[in-house]
């Protein structure tokens, strides 16, 4: 019997996942835009309790298929109890939106917006005191987060997930869906799946997620999907060597030429920095199995799960 099936038998008693759960109450900033509206409704479809409000300055008093729209985040917090914001505003308005969210009492901001100037990101994380007093930014330029069966906050296609013991962390969006689909097809479910974002500077790094998964009773193994650029994977590797839970890693962009920005603002090999070799080597030294293909990720996870003691 696959352990994920075992897990499902015990499922009811587990407090599932990290950062978001069934008590998450989402305000969608930019809800009247094309993408904001589309995805707010999909998030509500996943769990109607979790999407409580939207914000678009100047559109207060309207509603999006029954979701009340406010002019400010503060009103959404006071009147609807929002504690999490999902941001779809245009890139030039994103810094303002993130700082407004925290100033209004929001604890977790999931910033979907792509193309925010890096200095705006640094400034908004600084002003928002990201990481202090339980405050957290996921993203920007990310697909969001889903705790399977409880809440989706972002743009992930929810139909590909199934409940189970594997935590997934990734710098990519669509590549994550690819891996999750393969896991689900093999009968391996997921606890929480987080897209941390493809920008050079992001609020929540691999290490933050690994720390949380290590503490999460519902997670017994983690899949980490990295890519070229930066040192986040190297730092993750050194953290994993002290974890009790097994991690399987994948590094995208192994054949990417140096000096070229591969789509993500953060996916660039500069000089000797950020190469796939360096990341694969760091994982290897930390004893983390590295998959060469997306299919191999699933094989490695399946192999691990049969050895792993399941959450009680």
């Amino acid at each position: 019997m696959l352990p994920s099936v075992l897990w499902q038998l015990q499922g009811e008693e587990c407090d599932v996942g990290i950062f978001v759960d069934k008590n998450t109450r989402i305000v969608v900033q930019g809800i009247t835009g094309r993408e904001g509206r589309f995805h707010a409704l999909r998030m509500r479809d996943y769990n109607p309790e979790t999407v409580v409000a939207g914000v678009t300055p100047g559109r207060g008093g309207q509603d999006v298929e029954g979701i009340p729209v406010f002019d400010t985040v503060s009103e959404a917090v006071k009147q609807c109890g929002a504690n999490t914001s999902c941001i779809f505003v245009p890139s030039r308005a994103a810094r303002d939106a993130v700082v407004e969210a925290f100033a209004s009492g929001i604890e977790l901001v999931v910033c979907i917006t792509e193309g925010i100037p890096t200095l705006d990101v640094i400034d908004m994380l600084d002003k928002a005191k990201n990481g202090g007093q339980g405050l957290r930014v996921i993203g920007p330029n990310c697909p969001g987060i889903i705790t399977v069966g409880e809440v989706s906050c972002g743009i992930m296609p929810t139909q590909i997930f199934r409940p189970g013991p594997v935590g997934v962390i990734s710098r990519s969006g669509t590549l994550t869906y690819e891996v999750v689909s393969l896991l689900s097809a093999r009968g391996i479910g997921q606890s929480t799946c987080i897209g941390i974002g493809g920008d050079p500077v992001i609020g929540t790094s691999f290490v933050h997620c690994l720390e949380a998964f290590e503490e999460d009773d519902a997670t017994s193994a983690v899949v980490l999907i990295g890519e070229i650029g930066g040192r986040d994977e190297e730092e993750a590797a050194s953290f994993i060597s002290n974890m009790t839970k097994p991690v399987v890693a994948f590094v995208s962009g192994r054949t990417a030429p140096p000096g070229k920005r591969m789509g993500h603002a953060g996916a660039i090999v500069s000089g000797s920095m950020g190469t796939a070799e360096s990341k694969v080597k760091a994982f290897g030294e930390a004893g983390v199995p590295v998959a060469d293909t997306v299919n191999e990720i699933v094989d490695l996870v399946a192999g691990l799960l049969t050895d792993v003691k399941m959450p009680m």
Binding site: R34, E35, R92, I112, G115, I116, P117, T118, L119, D120, I122, D123, L125, D126, K127, P143, I155, P157, R171, S172, G173, T174, L175, T176, Y177, E178, S181, L182, G198, P200, V201, I202, G203, S205, E227, I228, G230, R231, D232, E235, S252, G253, R254, T255, A256, P257, K260, R261, M262, G263, H264, A265, G266, A267, G271, S272, D292, T293, V294, N295
Partner: protein, 379 residues
Amino acid sequence: MKLHEYQAKEIMRRYGIPTPKGQVAQTPDEAYRIASELEGHVVVKAQVHVGGRGKAGGISVVKSPEEAKEAASRILGMNIKGLTVRKVLVEQAVEAEDEYYLGVTIDRSRKAIVIIASSEGGVDIEEVAAKTPEKISKVRSTPKEGFMPWQARALALSAGFDRRCIPQVGAYFSYLFRLFVENDAELAEINPLMLTEDGRVIAADAKITLDDNALFRHPEYAELWEAEGDDPLEQEARRRGLTYVKLNGDIGVIGNGAGLVMATIDAIKAEGGEAANFLDIGGGARAEVVQNALELILMDKDVKAILINVFGGITRCDEVAQGLIKAIESVDLDLPVVVRLVGTREKEGRALLSGTSVVAADTMVDAAKRIVAIARGGM
């Protein structure tokens, strides 16, 4: 966006950072004229977006306007690491007693701006960091915190700069930080900062890279945008607003999401093929974007087969399919196409494509296998 040295120096001068006297020239005659207005030794420097100009023969120190003209005619048109030199900077050579490094860039891990000083100027700072890390001093800051001259003086002292120049370095370094923030740079670097015999400092070489995502705040830089040296297809992609990188193979790749496209390229390689490009149609890509992408791929004469790998999240498969059908109708498509389409509205997307000639694949690995087989078979 990388700026040329002469452009970076213009900006630095605006911020009060001294640079050698000089001007940019596009012809040997211009180089002669500029050099004749300078005294003593003159340096002629190729303006290309690549390091190692000196080693490649793109920098020449000369003694007269005639020699400057000769040097310019040799350097202009020269090919340095695949880039053609179209401009040279002709400027006063500086006698240096010592050379330092000043840099401001982004520290990704610490989510901050990092300010770097080293007493080892004029060489690759990465090499210094690797071989003699004790010769590098760093501090971190944010746009909100700023970087005051006293902090700059302390940093320069700890990096081992000559005491005589500390007051000036303090001022110029804080200007460099202000320049970095006000212009939304990714990198602002003076290497080397030269210390002259009389104790003055001067920026002998300068490098600035601007954040593309912030260019909307800086319309003044639109005219500095030079596609010079880029691959013609990359230039066309930029005109079309597509995220595209030219690669060396024969399989055209279109996908959504940078990670997925990179992984697709890796998968093609793993199957023994070689991608012709990286092309990410991005999140929320609409029908016309897909059509636009396919048209661009078809301009690449190296492409023998096309793999389209779309996993819908923010991108809807029906829109991708519509774009594909429009593109196939609008261009004379005689190349084999393998499409892998899953995710949001995939049933609608697949239904739309079922009446066309494209080969459908279920998984990325399956798609990579099929396209490599097709590309091989076609050769």
